[in-house]
Every structure is written in C-alpha cells, then in structure tokens.
C-alpha cells in the first residue's frame, strides 16, 4: 500500500485555527500579567484571520480530502463563516461579563476557540470518526467553560450534569455508529448511503443504529425527551458561557444532523423521519408550555431554545434540499437572535447583579427606553412576529413542511408558536407595563455593549425587511451540492 500525501489545502482554515490557538494558549501565560486584554484581542484577530482564509478560498464545488474523512463545500464554508461571526459577537459580550464578575481569564477565550475548532471539524466531517472527533473537541471545551467559575456550586453542578449526560449520549451515538458500520462496512457518509440504498445491509441492525444516532443527535441539540440538561446548564453556567453554548454549537449541531441523516442515511428516511417528527413535536410542546412557568430569563430562553430546535427539525422532516436549507436558515437566525437575547442580559448585568430575572426587566422602558425597544425587537423576533426576521425563519420551515404534505404538523407548529408568544409577551409586559422597583436610569457599564446589542437587534429588523439575500445564500449552498 502506497502512502499518499493528502491534500491539505481544503483544511487550511482549521489548521491555521489550531496553530493560532496553540500560540495563544502559550502566549497567554506571558501576556496576561502585563496586558489584561491581549488574549481577547488575539482571539478576535485569529477569528478574523480564519474567516479571511475561508472567504478567500470560498468554494462552490465539493472537495474531499484526508482519505474521505474531511469535506469542504459551500454548505460548510457558509456555516463556518456564520460560526465565526457569531463567535466574535459572543466574545465581545463575554469579555465585559467576565470583567464585571471578576473572573476574567485567558482560558475562557482559548477554550472558546477550541470549541470553535471542534465545530469546524463537525461541520466538515465526512465520516463518522471525524464527526465524533469534532463533537468531542467541542464538548470537552464546553464542559471546561461551564466549570470555569470554580467557586460557584451551580456552575460546577451544571458542568457535571453536562459531562455525565453528555457522556451517556455520546455513548449512544457511538453505539449507533458501530451498528451502522457493522451493517454497511463503511464509515464514510456517501459510501454508507450507497450501501444502504443497494439494500445489501441488514435492515434490523440499521434501524437500531439509526435510533441510537438520533438519540445522540437529539441530546446534543437539546431536543425533547433528551433536553433535561438544557435548562440546568443554561441556568447554572455563567451568562457568558450560556451565551456561548446557547448559540454557536447549535449551528454545528445542525451540520451534524445534516451530514449524518441527509448525507449518510437518506435511504433510511422511513426510520428516522418518524423519530424526528416525534422529537420535533415534543420539543415544540415542552419548549412552549414549560417556559410559561419560568421567572428566570436564562431558563426561559433555555426552554425557548428547546422549542426552537423543534421548529428547526421541521425543516429536516421534509428531507429535501429545500427543507435542509430552510432549517439552515432557521439555525443561523436562531443563533443571531440568541446572541442578542443573552447579550442583553450581559449588557445590563454588573458586578454583584446578574440581571437574569424577568422581574429585573420591570420598567426598563422608563429606565432605558432605547434598550427596551431593542429587547422588544428580540422578543418579538423570537416569537416569530413580522416584520422581524424570526418570522421568516418560521415561515420557511413551515412552508417546507406543508410542501412535504404534513399540513397537520404545520398547524400544530403554529399553535405552539402562539403559545410560546405568551412568554415572550411576558418579558415585554415587564419592560413596558410594570412599574420599576427602582426607576433610576440604567446604562450598560460599558457603553460599547449598547452598540453591540443595538447592532444585533437592528440586524434582526433589517434581515426581517430584506431577508432575500440570506435565504438565497442558504438555498444555493445546498443546491450546489
């Protein structure tokens, strides 16, 4: 057997990211004593560099390398670029939070970057081993981030919970992988798909494999009935980490879903479609109804996130390129909206005050009318009310479901959207109709956060009025394949 040197070019962004992380990791120990924010700036610059590398080699054709384990296509490039943009926003908000709550350290950023590397690997995975590798890089970084605040019992509990449950889910996923490998004899997605389509593989083993894989996926996405960790982890983790785990990994999670189900096992659609339908319905129902009872905004957004995953899965149910594109659009919009929502909590929090209760938002319209409007936009966008972009996210997935013939599911989804509107309205009600406990003006400690929040919220309006280019981008990225 000859050893062939693989083509490295498609993976240059990942390799560059790894090199930069390693450099920052070492340099941080020297910098942090003299220049407090050096690691932060290095992190942002690294992301810009990696983003530039992706953009400059942006490709519309599919390139496969490393012996079929790594793929570079426009789907991957677009998701990576959005991951970078969203992560930069996350780090911007996080810095201020870490400073205010007195545990600023370079580790947060280094771990964050490792997480992003893991997401990149997941997005570009072309076989099950690479997928597993990326998933673990991401998860381990996230567990460490959740536990970053060693002295907080809540954070440590959340980290432990995530670790134990995550390990269980990963076990399930691996078990599923091994069954599929056993049945098909292949770990590469297109080969798996071919063998499944040819009918040579044992269908019983395959069915079991699919079930375990879907369980693993549902856990990672935080979908019902594998959602138990989500509220506790979102709530227990420091808000900066919640912001991180609540947004960017969802994009990678969607990529994983797409690679495994759409590329790896399209032939088993009859097995996984009904599972996804059930998971989607349960997620929408639990996400909408349980959230009503929450009075902590982080918990509320956790449940709302569960509901959003249910909506995202609607696009996957259709199992057409358009359906996946719709889900892709949904996940990108969800991540942006999530940054705005958690970012608002961070912007208003200050030393000794978390600002994560709905009651903290009482009378915000009196205390800071501008931020109240911004939060109103975020809430109505999450609820899917036009003219904000959350409306388009919902409409494209529901449209694909209707097109696929599941009109009843669309009806159920819109009813759940109405129920979930109630708790978003609760936040708006607190801001506009309730009397503040203390009506002194309220400004973010760092004025740049006002700008950052406003930018994200206004982005939701602009995308809401002119959604066409982003929709086109998502739809073309999958059509090109």
């Amino acid at each position: 057997m000859n050893f062939v040197i693989p083509a490295f070019a498609p993976a240059i962004p990942e390799m560059a990211l790894l090199a930069l992380i390693s450099f920052i990791l070492v340099a941080d120990t020297f910098w942090s004593k003299r220049y407090k924010f050096a690691t932060y700036y290095a992190t942002q610059i690294s992301l810009v560099v990696v983003g530039y590398l992706i953009l400059s080699s942006f490709t519309t054709t599919q390139v496969i390398t490393f012996d079929g384990s790594f793929v570079r296509d426009s789907f991957a490039d677009i998701l990576k670029l959005f991951t970078i943009a969203i992560s930069m926003g996350i780090f911007l908000f996080s810095r201020e939070y870490l400073v205010q709550h007195k545990f600023f350290s370079g580790e947060y950023f280094v771990l964050g970057l490792f997480g992003i590397l893991g997401m990149f690997v997941m997005i570009s995975a072309h076989n099950m081993i690479t997928m597993y590798l990326g998933l673990e890089i991401m998860s381990l970084a996230m567990i460490a981030m959740i536990a970053l605040r060693r002295d907080s019992a809540h954070a440590v509990e959340a980290a432990l919970k995530y670790f134990v449950l995550g390990a269980l889910a990963t076990g399930m996923l691996l078990y599923g992988f091994s069954m599929i490998y056993g049945a098909t004899g292949s770990i590469t997605f297109p080969e798996m798909a071919e063998i499944i389509a040819s009918g040579q593989a044992d269908s019983v083993v395959l069915s079991f494999g699919v079930v375990f894989v879907v369980i693993g996926l549902a856990f990672k996405l935080g979908a019902v009935p594998f959602h138990m960790w989500v509220p506790d982890v979102y709530h227990g983790a420091p808000t900066a980490v919640t912001l991180y785990i609540g947004t960017a990994p969802k994009i990678a999670g969607f990529a994983m879903l797409y690679r495994l189900l759409a590329e790896g096992m399209p032939g088993l659609i009859e097995d996984w479609q009904s599972l996804i339908i059930m998971i989607s319905i349960l997620s929408m129902v639990i996400g909408s109804i349980v959230a009503i009872a929450q009075d902590n905004l982080k918990r509320l957004l956790a449940y709302s996130g569960i509901g959003h995953v249910g909506f995202l899965l609607l696009g996957v149910i259709a199992a057409t390129p358009e359906g996946y594109s719709a889900a892709m659009f949904y996940v990108i919009i969800y991540a942006i909206t999530g940054v705005a929502g958690f970012g608002m909590i961070i912007a208003l929090s200050r030393t000794g005050k978390e600002f994560d209760l709905i009651s903290d938002f009482k009378g915000l319209n009196v205390r800071n009318p501008w931020l109240a409007i911004m939060m109103l936009i975020v809430m109505f966008s999450m609820a899917g009310i036009p003219p904000f972009v959350g409306f388009w996210a919902k409409i494209v997935v529901i449209e694909e479901v209707v097109k696929a013939g599941f009109t009843w599911l669309a009806v159920l989804a819109v009813i759940m959207a109405v129920i979930s509107a109630f708790y978003y309205l609760k936040v708006v009600k607190a801001m506009y109709f309730d009397k503040p406990e203390d009506d002194s003006p309220l400004e973010p400690v760092n004025p740049s956060l006002t700008w950052a929040v406003s930018f994200t919220a206004i982005l939701l309006v602009v995308l809401g009025l002119l959604p066409s280019s982003l929709i086109d981008l998502c739809y073309h990225s999958l059509k090109a394949l």
Partner: protein, 504 residues
Amino acid sequence: MLTSFPILSTLIWLPILGGLLVLFAGRNNDSAAKWLSLITVGLTFILSIPLWIGFDNSTASMQFVEHIAWIPMFNINYHLGVDGLSMPLVLLTTFTQVLVVASAWDVIKDRVEQYMGAFLIMGGIMVGVFVALDSILFYVFWEALLIPMFIVIGKWGGPRRVYATLKFFLYTFLGSVFMLVSFLYMYSQSGSFSILDFQAMPLGMTAQILIFLAFLAAFAVKIPMFPVHTWLPDAHVEAPTAGSVVLAAIMLKMGGYGFVRFSLPITPDASMTLDWLIIVLSLIAIVYIGMVALAQNDMKKLVAYSSISHMGFVTLGMFLVYDIVQSTGSMQGAQLGMEGAMVQMISHGFISGAMFLAIGVLYDRMHTREISAYSGVVNKMPWFVLFAVIFSMANVGLPGTSGFVGEFMVILSAFKANLWYGTFAALTLVIGAAYTLWMVKRVFFGPVTNENVEQLQDLNKREFAIMATLAVAIIALGVFPSPLIEVMHTSVGQLLVQATTSKL
C-alpha cells in the same frame, strides 16, 4: 394619471418613518412630538386624496399598482394596489389618523412621543393591510399591527389593561396563524403568493372548506363575530380613547375586508356551502349582542357591543349573496347587499370613531365611564350634547345619517333572501334604538344630580373641530352616499362574479 408616483408606498412608509422620527426626536419634548405627528398625519391624509381623485370607477382591476420582487426564492413580491373595495378603507384610515392625533393632543401626558409614535406606525401598517396584493406582505402588515396596539393598550389603558392587551394579542395571533398555514398550502399548490393568483387558482372542495375555516378563524376574531368576540369589550374598555377609535374604526374593518378579498373570491364553493354558518352567527351578533349592549353600565362597553352588533350587518350582507342569487336568480339583489355591507363598514368607521371620541371627551373631564355617574350633561355642555346626539342617532340608523344607508341596504336584501333573515336583521332597528337612546337619556338628559357634572366645561376649540368634522362626514355620507357606492360598484360586481363562479 399619477401612477408613476408610488403613492401607496408613500402612504405606508411616511407615517411609519414619521412615527420613528417622533419616537426618537420627540423624547423630552412633547410639543415637538405632537406637532411632528400632526404634520405627518396631515400630510398623509392630503397625499391620500389623489387616490380618490385619480381613481377610475369604470374598472375592477387594481390601480396605482406597485410591484417589486421581494423574496424571489419564494416568489414573494412587494405588490401593492387598490380597487373599489380597498380604496375607501385607505381613505378612512388616513382620515381617522388625523382625528387620533388631534384627540390625544392635551390628554396624553405620559410618554407622549411613544404614544404618538405607536399610532403613527400603526397608521402606516393599517394602510399596508388594505393595499397589499401579496398574501405574505398582507400577513406581515396584519401581524405587525399587533405590536404597537399591544403596547398602546397595555401602557395607556385602564386598570385591567394588561389582561386586556394579552387577551387581544393572543386571540388575534391565534386566529391569524391558521390563515398563514393556508397561504403556505396554496403556495405549495400554485407556486405563487399573489392574492390575485389565489383568486384564480382551482381548489378542491375539502381544501376549500379547510381554507375557508382558517380564514374564518382569522377574520372572525378580527371583526369580531360571535362567539369569538370576547376580546373586544375588554380591549375597548381598557384602551385609551384613540386606541378604541383605531380598533373600532379601522381594525375591525380588516376582518370584513378579509372576507371580500380572501374568503369569497378564493373559496367560493366553501362560502356557498357554509354561508348558513356566517348568516346564523351574524344574526346572533345582531340580535343577541344587541341585547347584551342593553345591559351595560359602562358607556365604552355599550358602544363596543354595539360595534359587534353592527359588524354583524357587514358579514350578513356579504354572505347573503348565495341565498339571494338562489331565490331571485339575479345578481341585482346580491349587489345591493354587498354594497350595503361595504357602505356599513365605512359608515361604522365614522360612527364608532365618533362615539368613542365623544365618550373620551366625557372621560377626560370626569374620569369615569359609568353611565350612572352622569345625568343632565346637556345643561352644562350643550354643544357637546348636540354632536353626541347626532352620533347616537347615526348609531341607531336614523335616515339622513350614514348609519341608515348601509343597514337599510342590507335589511332590504335580507328580505329578498329570506323573510326570516330580514325579520331578525330588522330587529336591530328596535334594539339599537333601545340601547343607544336609553344611554342618551340617562347620560345627557335629566336633572343634574352630581356635583362633578356641575363642574363640566363645554367643548374647547380642538374638540369642537374634531366633533364637527365627524358630524359633517356622517351626515354627508347619509344624505349623499352615491359617490362612495359608485367607487365600489364595479369592484363589487366583479367580486360577485368571482364569489359565484365555482372553482372545483
């Protein structure tokens, strides 16, 4: 012709941008906010007049059309246009906006810029609802309207405002999402979101019935029809005066407009099969809700219930079509009923707006809407009572006022359809007179028994101007309704053809 100038877009975006400007420029400067708002609504109203002047009565096709691709991937377009059904409603909207700003002038003291800004934005969105010819664009306006209204009722409303506004929002939102699903379904069948394409596409009976019911959920809540009307008295009572005016004068019309733009032309066979449902619900609204109005102690609630009762005429007139065509075999009677329904919508816009403004005048002085708190107002406020009685008479449907024209046309056509329909519909002449005149007697006449009433001041110049404008409009429309009917005539004719042509 003025077709090259994007007049409809101007009518939508001028108030919205003006509203945003007021929101930001008017902070801590109330008089700037007020004047800026007045200039915006005044300009919008003036700019809407060419719509009337340049309107071509002889065609039923869309006029002043604007068409720009919006989301080509889904064939969603920024497509605007008016015909004889929507043009009067646009004018009603821009006209009411002027009254709304004027009525709030001295009354609102808390966050004036937010109040005015919300109403201006609402004004633009409401015009958008009436002129959108793309169903998704329509839905965007339709839903977006809920946001400012939610804030207005919840922030400046009465004691139970939070309950009322949440109820209002969730009720209307729940109703309209079903409409969205049917749009998506029709798109998946036809590949277009254009309302005109929807009207032309063939649809099977089952699909039509389901779509009809989905539309019914959206429009019946908005109108509102019995039994989904319960949000309206709550919202009306708790809303500030201008909020009630906008709700009654314009937002309720959106439901009626929805029936003529969507239900009848898109699902004609289902409309024909289920017309009994609408007729029965309309008659219940006219008779039963009229009785309910009789029992109210709160003036605003009374007018709110009377609105529901009057809107029953609108839906009745629209869905009598099938019975009339069946029993007389000609379109003439159907045309009468449909035109009556449309006239009733416009006329009710003026009358209900006027009634709520009149109650607002009293409320600003006494801070109560209880009928029992008043007596003998005429002794202290003769001018006010003069106008209030004109409005009340119009509410009763006295000949010579606009209220008479629409009701009379609908009742007449109801008799053509079925004797019983006509009899029940005509009962309103008794019930409406009873609840309105009884209120007039208790509030305006009789001896002054209350020392607060003793202190009342008559109308100031601003209030006088508002009241006089409305009184003129109501009487003019009552005496001389033919210009309005002529504008609608061709479009109504085409609507009837669409509504009676099977799509199976």
